[in-house]
């Protein structure tokens, strides 16, 4: 069914393409890429759609219709995982935009050792996520961790960052922001540097305050950078798995589970059909959020 639809849509796509790239290369030239695309991307996509409708043991698959999807939404911790995913995506993406922008303003100013500082902000991006997770897990230990020992030395009793169900998800989100804000900063630096200085000079002559210059010159003109940062970090937040798994494994209990960690646990338990259904849900959710968001952000850009 799905395959037939795909085949049907090919001629249309081909006709549209040909007008632009007709005669650029002979058709055999596209064959290797087409084979790789079909075998490694299209086939698994359709296979996963099929297996999400089955109870699958890797050796045999019983067709059960939409039962896996019903199961996925029926279980309280699976649903909690959905909510947590959204919280995680919004918190990490929001903080990366705000902090990335502030850091970029600082690092495009005439600050001493600017190149070095820019590198320092970017370093956490280069470090292995699992390594960061293990390090912060040790630092956030409720009694022996560096953070709570430091707080204790000034008389504050720190919370169980990763073990208190109220804080666990946010603690991981903060670490995610620390690790990822470097990328947002670099994108913003590129955006800010490309704003012509004449605008600022003109604004200054008109008597605009620093605050007004930021709101009316910098912010609108780095809109493309903002769109990139929001979309990249939001997709990253929605499908985030490695950091959460390294730090809490979704715990304590199910309180910091996100969709990706729930899916992985179903897979570990041998519920292969259910975990495939979870992946389809994740795919649909990311698409439903990101496509309109991306259209909205890009339209703003064109309108201006």
């Amino acid at each position: 069914m799905a395959v037939a639809v795909a085949e049907g849509s090919v001629p249309i796509a081909k006709a549209r393409r040909r007008s632009r790239t007709a005669g650029l290369y002979p058709s055999w030239f596209y064959l290797p890429a087409a084979i790789i695309f079909a075998v490694l991307f299209m086939l698994p996509t359709f296979a996963s759609l099929f297996f999400s409708l089955t109870r699958w043991t890797l050796q045999k698959a019983d067709f059960i219709g939409l039962e896996n999807f019903a199961q996925f939404f029926r279980e309280p911790f699976l649903f909690q995982g959905l909510i947590n995913t959204l919280i995680y995506g919004v918190v990490t993406s929001g903080l990366k935009v705000v902090l990335g922008m502030l850091l970029a303003l600082l690092l495009t100013s005439d600050i001493f050792g600017r190149g070095y500082l820019r590198a320092v902000v970017f370093f956490p991006v280069l470090v292995s996520t699992v390594g960061v997770g293990i390090t912060f897990t040790a630092m956030m230990h409720p009694t022996q961790g560096l953070i709570n020992e430091t707080l204790a030395s000034i008389g504050i009793k720190g919370p169980g960052w990763l073990t208190d169900p109220r804080f666990a998800l946010y603690s991981v989100a903060l670490v995610d922001v620390w690790k990822g804000v470097g990328l947002a900063t670099v994108i913003y630096i590129a955006g800010i540097v490309s704003i012509p200085l004449e605008y600022y000079e003109a604004a200054k002559i008109d008597g605009a305050t620093a605050w007004q210059r930021f709101w009316t010159v910098t912010l609108p003109l780095v809109q493309p950078a903002t769109a990139t940062v929001v979309i990249l970090s939001f997709i990253g937040g929605l499908r985030s798995f490695d950091l959460i798994w390294a730090m809490t494994k979704g715990g304590p209990g199910f309180t910091s589970d996100v969709i990706a960690s729930v899916i992985y646990k179903q897979y570990q338990a041998g519920f292969y059909g259910l975990s495939t259904a979870g992946n389809v849900v994740l795919f649909v959710m990311v698409a439903l959020i990101i496509v309109p968001l991306s259209l909205f952000l890009n339209r703003q850009e064109v309108d201006r």
């Binding site: 050796q59 409720p142 715990g251 041998g270």
Partner: protein, 430 residues
């Protein structure tokens, strides 16, 4: 004439065979691969068994490989079986986890092997597939799910090991009043959170002897069976009474073992195999730790929930079935037991006839053995009586044990989890 020629031919042939055999042993050593979990005590035991076997069988070389335990290990075993990449011999749980790897389709039938005559029947039942064939052999010793206690704290406060839950909680109050940690929990390793529920099963069976059968058939539920719900309720009670160590949510299994051995806490609910870890992590305190069964309501009906040891299995995809069987027979022999005792210590009774334990076992093991002996009171854990064990129990018991979720809703959630597993296994009635 004919005779002589025949004899000559026979001699010549024998000679050739001998030469060929010699060449084979020199060049084509059979290489067996052997996969086991990475718990230090398992690794020590498995390596010692492999070395001893190689010494006896110079034509076989064993390549050992360790894997993670817990859910990661389950995943790895299932994936390697499904992709035909399983080692020639592998170690894995018996009971419900064994049922979940689809033994009838994946494993070599070991029912007719001569060594099975020496394997105790109670083990055979937990490695028998749905077709009635036996697929495994025991490695390691039987275990109990109970509570380790610190003997010096008990002596100092004049306490005796409890036989009923009320006595246990009374002991806890005295320990807490003395300013000590009464109960150690280690939710940093989530699997350790399940003992109050799983280890209470002797008491469940005592109250409801048909629970296992009804549960497998989908008729008995944790949430609606008062005796079964009790495990969750007790876990909640212990948390609410404020008896836990301060870092219970982050502490690991190794922390728990060390704490109960060194007296940083008085009780640690755990499987008795942890004796091997105490020996390794706090060797000077090995004589400070005792063991008792998780007590139920009635002191007169006190008994232990027991765990069968892991099994050794051969996948159907092996190319060295004969050698693999030879190795398994060696492990499941009296000689094999003795090597296990030497390398990992005496942690409980073996499931092979004729195997003995040394006279000077640690006190926790000495406390454990009477439950298994003639006239002792013990019953297997649910995972050995039913193929269904829900995979999310450890997260649920973490929530109940840290006050995030109450006992009743935890039990109801677990019933849902069990249903998922039963459907995945394709059991009737779900």
């Amino acid at each position: 004439m004919l005779m002589r020629n025949l004899t000559r031919a026979a001699l010549a042939t024998t000679g050739i065979v001998v030469i060929l055999a010699g060449a084979a042993s020199a060049q084509d050593k059979v290489k067996l691969t052997f996969l086991f979990d990475n718990a230090p005590s398992t690794v020590a035991m498995a390596e010692a068994l492999a070395t001893a076997f190689e010494a006896k069988n110079p034509n076989i070389e064993i390549e050992t490989e360790s894997r993670p335990g817990g859910a990661d290990g389950d995943n790895l075993i299932k994936t390697r079986l499904a992709t035909s990449e399983m080692s020639d011999v592998f170690l894995y749980n018996s009971g419900s986890l064994f049922q979940a790897i689809n033994p009838t389709q994946n494993l070599v039938d070991l029912s007719a092997e001569p060594f099975q005559a020496n394997v105790i029947d109670s083990f055979k039942t937990v490695v028998t597939g749905t077709d009635g064939k036996v697929y495994g052999a025991p490695i390691g010793t039987a275990m109990g799910g109970g509570i380790f206690y610190n003997i010096p704290i008990y002596k100092e406060l004049g306490l005796t090991p409890p036989k009923s839950w009320a006595e246990f909680m009374a002991n806890n109050e005295k320990i807490k009043a003395a300013g000590k940690t009464a109960v150690i929990q280690t939710f940093g390793a989530t699997w350790t959170s399940q003992l109050f529920v799983l280890g209470d099963f002797y008491n469940v069976l005592a109250a409801d002897p048909n629970f296992a059968t009804d549960y497998t058939a989908g008729k008995a539920k944790y949430a609606s069976t008062p005796a079964a719900l009790k495990g969750f309720e007790r876990q909640e009670e212990v948390f609410k009474a404020g008896l836990l160590n301060e870092d219970f949510a982050a502490a690991t299994f190794e922390d728990g073992v060390t704490k109960v051995a060194t007296g940083e806490g008085a009780h640690y609910p755990m499987l008795s195999f942890a004796v091997a870890n105490i020996k390794e992590l706090a060797p000077e305190n090995i004589n400070d730790v005792g063991f008792f069964a998780i007590p139920g309501d009635d002191a007169a009906k006190n008994g232990l929930t027991t765990w069968m040891p892991a099994g050794l299995y051969i996948p159907k995809t092996t190319k060295h079935e004969a050698e693999a069987k030879q190795f398994i027979a060696f492990v499941a022999s009296v000689e094999g037991c003795d090597i296990q005792t030497q390398s990992a210590g005496a942690t409980g009774p073996y499931l092979v006839k004729g195997c003995t334990l040394p006279a000077d076992v640690p006190p926790a093991v000495a406390d454990l053995l009477p439950y298994f002996q003639e006239g002792g009171h013990s019953a297997p854990a649910l995972e050995f009586l039913s193929p269904i064990k829900g995979p999310a129990l450890e997260q649920i018991t973490v929530e109940v044990g840290s006050g995030i979720r109450d006992a009743a809703s935890g039990a109801a959630l677990y019933d849902e989890d069990v249903k998922k597993q039963a459907q995945q296994l394709g059991l009737p009635g779900w």
